[in-house]
Symmetry: D3
Subunit: 129 residues, 6 copies
Amino acid sequence: MDKATYDRGLQIRKDVLGNEFVDKAIASADDFNRPMQDLTTEYCWGYVWGREALSRKTRSMLNLAMISALNRPHELKMHVKGALVNGVTRDEIREIFMQVAIYCGVPAGVDSFRIAREAFAEVDKEQKV
Amino acid sequence: MDKATYDRGLQIRKDVLGNEFVDKAIASADDFNRPMQDLTTEYCWGYVWGREALSRKTRSMLNLAMISALNRPHELKMHVKGALVNGVTRDEIREIFMQVAIYCGVPAGVDSFRIAREAFAEVDKEQKV
Amino acid sequence: MDKATYDRGLQIRKDVLGNEFVDKAIASADDFNRPMQDLTTEYCWGYVWGREALSRKTRSMLNLAMISALNRPHELKMHVKGALVNGVTRDEIREIFMQVAIYCGVPAGVDSFRIAREAFAEVDKEQKV
Amino acid sequence: MDKATYDRGLQIRKDVLGNEFVDKAIASADDFNRPMQDLTTEYCWGYVWGREALSRKTRSMLNLAMISALNRPHELKMHVKGALVNGVTRDEIREIFMQVAIYCGVPAGVDSFRIAREAFAEVDKEQKV
Amino acid sequence: MDKATYDRGLQIRKDVLGNEFVDKAIASADDFNRPMQDLTTEYCWGYVWGREALSRKTRSMLNLAMISALNRPHELKMHVKGALVNGVTRDEIREIFMQVAIYCGVPAGVDSFRIAREAFAEVDKEQKV
Amino acid sequence: MDKATYDRGLQIRKDVLGNEFVDKAIASADDFNRPMQDLTTEYCWGYVWGREALSRKTRSMLNLAMISALNRPHELKMHVKGALVNGVTRDEIREIFMQVAIYCGVPAGVDSFRIAREAFAEVDKEQKV
């Protein structure tokens, strides 16, 4: 493990997904999934998200497109929320998912729109509290 | 068909992929694939690329990520070239494909890097002529 | 937008998925997903389903095969119900999904059979009311 | 092995793909791939294609849609040729692949059109000889 | 049908997934899905799992990797439980899913870890009863 | 970068893919793809392949199954050769790809068998020299 990369990753992960979410994920880790948590924090969030040649906003946009194509609804919802944090507007998210509909097919587009609406509703509810 | 959408699509398609490429595609169309050419020009390039809420540069970046995930090498090479036209730098393409490697897996990343290098070599050769 | 194509698409969409379902989808649309609703109605249901070279029954059969391969359970369930409306029998649906099991793999086949059984149960329940 | 199923499968496979193609495949089998050849002949061509609830023409159409979605160009080209043998017209193949473009995305549609044109060219050349 | 292959398949299926699970699946089969049950038992469990060149433990490990890549959560959970029966340890399952994260991408890895934890919890609960 | 992990990765990568192959890959790296080479060496070969809970033979077997499912022929051929180095026999490769045919579908199985035969032919040719 490269501690500097891990620490940078942990900070970015918290910035994007929220302190509470990440603290909870780490606290609930056990011997089974801790190595996966570490891998994700160091390589995904530290090594790649930590590179400066693309803004966080751009990385979020790429993720919405890619994770739609990959058909992973849990991760997609989380990254819709992260995208809002990184400054992607709801109008931009609509445009991304219309482009998904063209390139990945209408069912992919429909699924991603439904997940975005669920994510928005959850965010709106949290913000009211 | 909506003629205004088609015409806008044809112009964008030519701007991104080059007049010569598009003229040749249209000239070589026959009764079998002409309806598909029309659908693509109107629906993909006119209706979606023609929307102004995302820049062409951003749309190109999304396509590189999505088409890597979709595993379509012919289309990917064409869109690497289009991305250069739309102002995506080679350094940004590298960053996109490193993010692909993390989210879509290392084999997807390796394939996309190879295709990008082929596209760059073809572009460099054309520009020398 | 080409109004004739949109209107033809809206009619076909209602014929296949039911007036109630489509009216509800349109009524619940907001600024975020209305452009996606329009895109789907015009291009998917109007431009492609509206072409006469394949019967609606055949298009439904193709969709069951494709959407199984694409692994999109929400859309698959909706299209199982639409297929029954378009005259695909339950025996034919079984045959399609056995072919899915061979070409897309046993897990795809098993998932599609489960979704079909859920769709049938919902249809049977609605018809009892 | 169920010999009746195997024999029925071998006959259907030859009917669809041609005696010459199948004889060559079987003759070139070695200890490594013979068990796979047997599995395919019995399970795919005998057990499923041998069921009578769908016509061979319908099965070919389903395969063109599914194998496009699965992104398997070698198999797709072979099944385009088989579809022609089973009475699917070139116009119907165009319609199937336009539906592919909508549901699986434009890159899938473009790839399938290109492969179909290659298959048609090979068939036309063979028929001239 | 080859009765010996079917019977071998039924036995292996019960060994791996449990008598109760398989008896229930067979008892709940109707005319719609019985042919699919038969296909799966004979070809998947009898014809392929019945071959002796790989151990059941190895076959389970391959399935965890493949079904993660195929993105089929229902089947994956079932095969996580089957893998434990076949002697794959929880530590080995962790390693498989970390390799999944590398080759299929982080979202695939995250999803598979979550499903494994659900499967473990269900197994632990059953064993307490 | 964690140098120990990178160095371990470089060694494993050379052990599995051959010194010549890896030296050539590194020598031909340029500013564009060097960061991807580094990521792959450290993260894929060092961090994950370097974990000792699974043997290299088992990791190779998992890769053959996964990369077949992922439909990446270049990477698959390379890993077929690597699997032979890691002690997977040709008979075992056949069994893996028959299991692929059942779980990922017959076209995936057929493609993987073809690629394996190409890999074997190249290995046999090199060994004659």
